[in-house]
Symmetry: none
Subunit: 198 residues, 4 copies
DNA sequence: CATGAATGAGTATTCATTCAT
DNA sequence: GATGAATGAATACTCATTCAT
């Protein structure tokens, strides 16, 4: 199966990339991890760039699929219930693929592309995810759970808080249980840092 | 002046880096931007790594200096006044050096260091900035302006929101006036997204 | 065959080295001589230093092997017969690889090694060869053919005389038949320059 | 004084050369040793090659002068007395400048010269020294102290024995007193290694 | 004359990519 | 389809040399 082989390669690529970083990951490293020779990589991907791109695309698709699945699952539930579910889904995905998630926001991928195609894809993923969050946000507003004022910034802010939280864990090598992260995020996002009187 | 020359080089390096990205910035590009030959770069910096490191260090120092200056200026003022000032200082700096700011969170810098020294420096900058934010946060708590519960996460969350906001502007090529960003950040951070009744 | 390829490269390297000298032999020169591209050299040797080292090692091994073979062959024969055989073996080898032989006594190789490992190997080769000569010398003493007094200097002196003889031939571009060299060496070493009366 | 400055530079050059080797001695190293700037070096020597050449020439001249002085001093004395004096003079000189002496036999110097001029000078020094030894040898023959048969090889052999003796001392880091070296050399050269009966 | 910052040609080394087997 | 040796363009870095001060 062609697709199976591609997936195997992408898995290996993600591992190596997470371990060695973008710049120091050589095609041979990936091949070695898969257990094949470099030539084989080129039978499945046009070139290095295409492989990386495919990896990012795959990750993006997986994340979106996960988001959609969660939204599907919780359909009809109230915003207060759906938001935590969605955030947990994202947190879990991003934590699993943290190495790549960092890469997603990195410029190399953008820059190293001769065309601006990569940038477009990245933008696309980001905006797709934002859209889902925003849609849910509309529900929140409709249910009186969110201030409508800053609505269009909520996705960005939420994603930013998630990322910095995860980054900090990596830097300090102190992983936090997902539930705790979730609690902090929800409290701060929904209630704000200022005490609510009464 | 040796220091002057170093600064000139670092300026050029920042420009080129922001334009071309870490991976595709060659020493010759930087030299060309300064208007000197490669050899000259090596008269001022041990090697490529040292130059990049010096650049990051300089940026870090500048940011911390700016933060400290602002804190100094607003000393004694109430938290509600000081926080916006501090955030504005950070926003302005980061916006000015956005290209590099992205770099700061990129792994290449971490990975390419054999010793892991870079990681340490990055950690250090990050934690220094966080410390300042946290100290101010303590004031906020003391003045009853902040919930003490999630205090240790506030710096991380604030920095994360700032970064994602800036990232989005870059991706969408729609710069936001600083005052507006500030407004969104303060409202969301302090008041939260959920409407405050009454 | 990996070993075959390595040997081919080493052969080419020796030629180029002998023609151009250590300092002006570029990796590309060697590659060109072999008829491959530079990259290929690096498929077989870690780096320039490793290639040179391998070359010296190979030469050393070959010389020692030749010495041992000759000693083996002449085993049991009287000293007066064995010495000429041994010297001829050495002379032939050194004459064949004269370019490299000069290199062996050159400092670059020593100095360029960060670890001093090269020095050790050179010492080792030199002392291995000396040992064989010394052992044979012991036979000579036992058979009453050598004064025991300066025994420990004989190997050094013999090797020195051989080298200077060969050097002179190179400088003056007047090669001497091996048999003649052998004659001079044996007469001078054994009988001395002062006439033996009677 | 122009000549004085040149001499100072050459002294420094010899030191650095002996310490670091030909390949790793940079013009700046020499300048630093003298305590001047690189530019100054170029005020006294055309280029690096010229400086090195001047150094070798100076050494050669010094050695020849020393030999001539010794020959002058011992003029009229019997061969048996003059030879040790001459050898001692050479040994002392070579031991003093051992670093350079090694260099003298190295090919880099020859090869790195675009013209074959260096080779010529080296040949010249070598042959000048040999001539002196040979002349003395003629006396030895005339006085019945030397076999005439191998006369033209004596200088080469003597110089070779001296060099290998010195090399060995360097390699083994066990300096030998000059008198002892002299003894070994004279005995072996004059008497040979084979016992003289009766 | 001395200085030493600037120069830039020259080289070792890497690694994505190809293609004959 | 898999292989992996060969390729060679690309790049960091060095250091002899120059020349304005």
């Amino acid at each position: 199966m062609r697709e199976e082989a591609r997936a195997t390669i992408l898995d290996a690529a993600e591992q190596v990339l997470a371990e060695q970083g973008l710049a120091s990951t050589r095609m041979e490293d990936i091949a070695a991890r898969v257990g094949v020779s470099v030539g084989t990589l080129y039978n499945y991907f046009e070139d290095r760039q295409a492989l990386l791109q495919a990896l990012l695309d795959a990750q993006g698709q997986e994340l979106l699929a996960r988001i959609d699945a969660e939204l599907e699952r919780s359909q009809g539930a109230p915003y207060r219930t759906r938001l935590p579910g969605l955030l947990r889904a994202i947190l879990e995905h991003v934590q699993t693929h943290f190495g790549l998630f960092s890469l997603l926001q990195r410029e190399d991928v953008r820059r190293s592309a001769s065309t601006g195609e990569d940038l477009a894809r990245h933008q696309h993923l980001w905006s797709e995810a934002s859209q889902r969050l925003e849609q849910l946000g509309q529900e929140g507003i409709a249910q009186g759970e969110l201030r409508p004022e800053d609505a269009r910034h909520y996705p960005t802010l939420l994603l930013g808080m998630m990322q910095s939280t995860l980054s900090r864990q990596v830097l300090e090598r102190q992983p936090l249980p997902i539930e705790e992260q979730l609690g902090v995020l929800l409290r701060c996002f929904l209630e704000g840092a200022r005490p609510r009187s009464g």
